[in-house]
Symmetry: C2
Subunit: 187 residues, 2 copies
């Protein structure tokens, strides 16, 4: 089983190491992890971004499932590129799993970044835009995509010391993707 | 032709009016606009968010294309729920169109929100995460999804007075979705 490993991990300075660590965890559970950084191209090419897109899309098309890292990126919610890939895989009926290393609810994260108002029970931000308040970790489209196209989002009981490099929740997703372990006695 | 109208417009206090205006513009070009707010359910239901998800997914499955509003939402980039829907439609080979009422590049928006560093030509944010700098309006996955699964992102020459309610770029997308207009003389 091939699993596409989506997340803003590719933007980390040590992205190559994180990718290797994720692929190694997949291998330990019998899965083939596909890390998008393996699609990186010569960034001096005029069409570098298009080549990366094509590489990522081909990798997703070749995968049987996806594990998304929805840890908040430059704001209260998940990285948009990662979320695009979740939608792309959900539409193909492929197995969708995900984790978020920030255990807070979406509404709590928005409240930590800006002042919210409550109007007739509806929370709004300073621009007057409603803040989703369904007790979910992020926008309902991603959270329920996982519920209905895979397994519920995995979050830690408390935020790990290194939000970007702790792979415990990632490993929990890999374990789910690998399926039930057959006890040795009955193997 | 049915077009799903995705965007953080649903979070505006006057979302119902915006939705009606968008559907009316679609109708003027012979298209049926499907606005997700029509899926809103009783928010006191325990499963309200799941019902909204199911409604939106069914609406996307019924649509022939999508027009996404990628105007930045609570940060430097597009709304994640909207981006999920773009991926979902792209994977089905449906027509993907989009606009962004903020004409700046992604890197310019990040730089306006936080201080960037340049290390060997790579821009990073205060967390040390790379800032995509391909001269694009947002994450390459969305921008090239539009290029390859529809038509390039539409942006205004200058930001409109009301980023959330100006529908000129939206109408430009509708015009593209409707296809070339047959001159009356040859009809």
């Amino acid at each position: 089983m091939k699993v596409y490993l989506a997340g803003p991990d590719v933007f980390l300075p040590d992205a190559v190491d994180i990718g290797r660590a994720k692929v190694a965890i997949c291998a330990a559970y019998g899965l083939t992890g596909l890390f998008p950084l393996d699609n990186q191209v010569d960034r001096d090419r005029a069409d570098a971004s298009l080549q990366i897109f094509r590489g990522n899309e081909a990798m997703m098309d070749a995968a049987d499932g996806i594990i998304v890292n929805l840890t908040p990126f430059r704001g209260p919610g998940a990285d948009a590129g990662t979320v695009y890939e979740l939608g792309y895989m959900a539409a193909q009926g492929k197995l969708c799993l995900g984790y978020c290393n920030d255990p807070r609810l979406y509404v709590e994260r928005v409240a930590a970044l800006t002042e919210l108002k409550s109007l007739s029970g509806i929370l709004t931000d300073p621009q007057g835009l409603t803040v989703e308040n369904f007790g979910l970790a992020d926008n309902l489209m991603m959270i329920h995509a996982l519920d209905l196209h895979g397994r519920p989002l995995i979050t830690p009981a408390a935020a790990p010391a290194d939000l970007w490099r702790d792979l415990a929740c990632f490993e929990a997703c890999v374990r789910l993707a690998a399926g039930p372990i057959v006890p040795a006695a009955s193997a």
